[in-house]
Amino acid sequence: MITVELFKLVRRLRTWLSIALICALPLAVAIFIAVTHLAPPPGEGSAFLSAVLNHGQLYPAAALALVLPVFLPVAVAVMAGDSVAGEATSGTLRYVLARPVSRTRLLVAKLIAVITFTLLAVVAVTVTSYATGVLILGPSRAAAVGTPPGGLSGSIAPGAGGAPTAGLQAGVAITSLSGTPLTTLELVERVLGAMAFITVSMLGVAAIALFLSTLTDSALGAALGSLAALVGSEILVTLNAASAVQPYLPTRYWLAWIDFFRQPILWRDIQRGFAIQAVYVVVFLAAAWANFATKDITT
């Protein structure tokens, strides 16, 4: 069943179209920056964006920061929201279940397909933005036009220990947010860590959307419902008055992947981020299972 779901994923035009759209945003941003040489000043704008004119290799991190808040979760919510409700609407669900495929197995296969999609999207963003960064951004071009030294910005990472203040000299080795230099191997490791963390960060949304997808036969309703939960969470995370519930919000540790670029890596929020996503997956997958396993399939 899992291979069948993956086959369906890769054979759908929608999968590749949405991944292409997700990759298109960082590309467009890179083109604007390359043409104007106007990167956001350190401490403003999306994470890492201020540094990319000096360090094209850092562009994957900046690109991930660009797609993380909206593009990626929207795509994941649409995929997961459609997973059961879409098949219910088209009528294929009843044939799959009568094949027979156990309802539990179907849910797990759907979740795995959504995770695979997220991973594909994250890898695609990383690879395309690395190419973009090296080809059209990067130190040589920045140095040639005498861009003032930028700084890696970590200021939008809430709860990050110690505000990063390290400046970067154009053409100098890439340094961590804490100011110490990073070897290429370290950089690769940390980008991989960030990719894994961001993929896991999407699990909460995916589980909520999957749960809603078993509740309703409307794929759109399920996707929008989970996005509403997400937007609500993103608003509450910035609201001081809601500090009591903040540690439990699904988006609370979304930006903790930036801690991978500190020296040494700040594991506290990363671990909490993994833990909170695990809790959301367990709770909503259990709810989805409880609902789906006892549901009358009337479509």
Binding site: V4, V96, L97, A98, P100, V101
Partner: protein
């Protein structure tokens, strides 16, 4: 093959299936008749474990459903309301995908089983066109092929000839009869009386969720003890058979008699030219309307404009 005991399903305040005790035997071609909205589809879905019964028991192929439905389903081919397929994939890809999704679909034999099923339903020549571009009739055939891929012992088909043209309907009827001859039990639901009449050996009639009749078709259609005679000289025929004539409509007479040969001999001896002479049997329509206690206009969705559709058109959903 299929038995249910006092099966009841309520959706909120609506009772879709009420106290149904079905009995489908091995080798049957069982036709479940009932107007739209009478609970046929809900009943079929309960047999397949898709809808859970409110009360009552179901046994299919000797196993309890829904508890052991996973043991039963691999031996069942099912068509549940309309066929459904992934529209961007070809018919073949759809069948292979569905086969790969569950148990008892050996990869080794998949290609040949899929090809065989497509050939059985008359789709052997389909190309790589996506299902999106299929006609309604082709989709219906594809749905039937999907039910046949695993060479099931039992076919559960909900409205199998929906959307087919008259030729397609006959093709499918012949296919189901030949499968039945080779040992497959066929259970189908339909609101089309002529279809069930031509295909089934046993019928059940569902009316507002109640099973109001369940019997061998041959037993229901045994001679009524009357003979229908058509003659050029109805006056003399009526005089000859005085006392036996039950009704007369122009040149057609209905005569009470269990022995058509003797009747014919009497008429010929009296010099009455007999055009035709036939033993009267009740039509399925009469039988069904009798037990449902409803006028033919009610043998359909109440208030539906389709309810009054002429019975001659097999494409109509509510022909009665």
């Amino acid at each position: 093959m299929i038995t249910t005991q006092n099966l009841t399903k309520r959706f909120g305040h609506v009772t879709a299936v009420s106290d149904v005790s079905l009995d489908v035997r091995e080798g049957d071609r069982y036709g479940l008749l009932g107007p739209n909205g009478s609970g046929k589809t809900t009943l079929v879905r309960m047999l397949l474990g898709l809808v859970y019964a409110t009360s009552g028991e179901i046994s299919v192929l000797g196993h309890r459903v829904p508890r052991h439905v996973h043991r039963v389903l691999p031996e069942i081919g099912a068509l549940i309301e309309e066929p459904a397929a992934y529209p961007h994939l070809s018919g073949r890809a759809n069948l292979r995908l569905l086969d790969a999704a569950g148990p008892h679909g050996a990869r080794r034999t998949r290609r040949s089983r899929v090809d065989e099923a497509l050939e059985q339903v008359g789709l052997a020549g389909i190309d790589r066109r996506p299902v999106r571009n299929y006609s309604l009739g082709m989709r219906q055939r594809l749905g039937l092929a999907a039910a046949l891929v695993r060479r099931p012992r039992l076919l559960i088909l909900d409205e199998p000839t929906n959307g087919l043209d008259p030729r397609g309907i006959r093709d499918i009827r012949d296919l189901l009869i030949s499968l039945n001859d080779s040992g497959v039990t066929v259970f189908l639901s339909s609101h089309l009386l002529p279809e069930v009449s031509a295909l089934c050996t046993r019928i059940g009639v569902l009316d507002s969720g109640h099973l109001v009749l369940q019997e061998q078709l041959a037993a229901l259609q045994k001679p009524t003890g009357r003979v229908q005679i058509s003659t050029d000289d109805p006056e003399r025929a009526a005089a000859t058979l005085d006392g036996l004539v039950e009704s007369r409509d122009g040149a057609d007479l209905v005569v009470r008699s269990a022995d058509p040969a003797a009747l014919n001999a009497r008429l010929v001896a009296a010099g009455v030219p007999v055009r035709s002479l036939a033993v009267q049997r009740r039509s399925l329509e009469e039988i069904v309307l009798d037990v449902t206690g409803a006028g033919s206009d009610q043998f359909g969705v109440p208030g539906s404009e389709e309810a009054a559709a002429p019975p001659a058109d097999p494409q109509d959903r509510d022909a009665s």
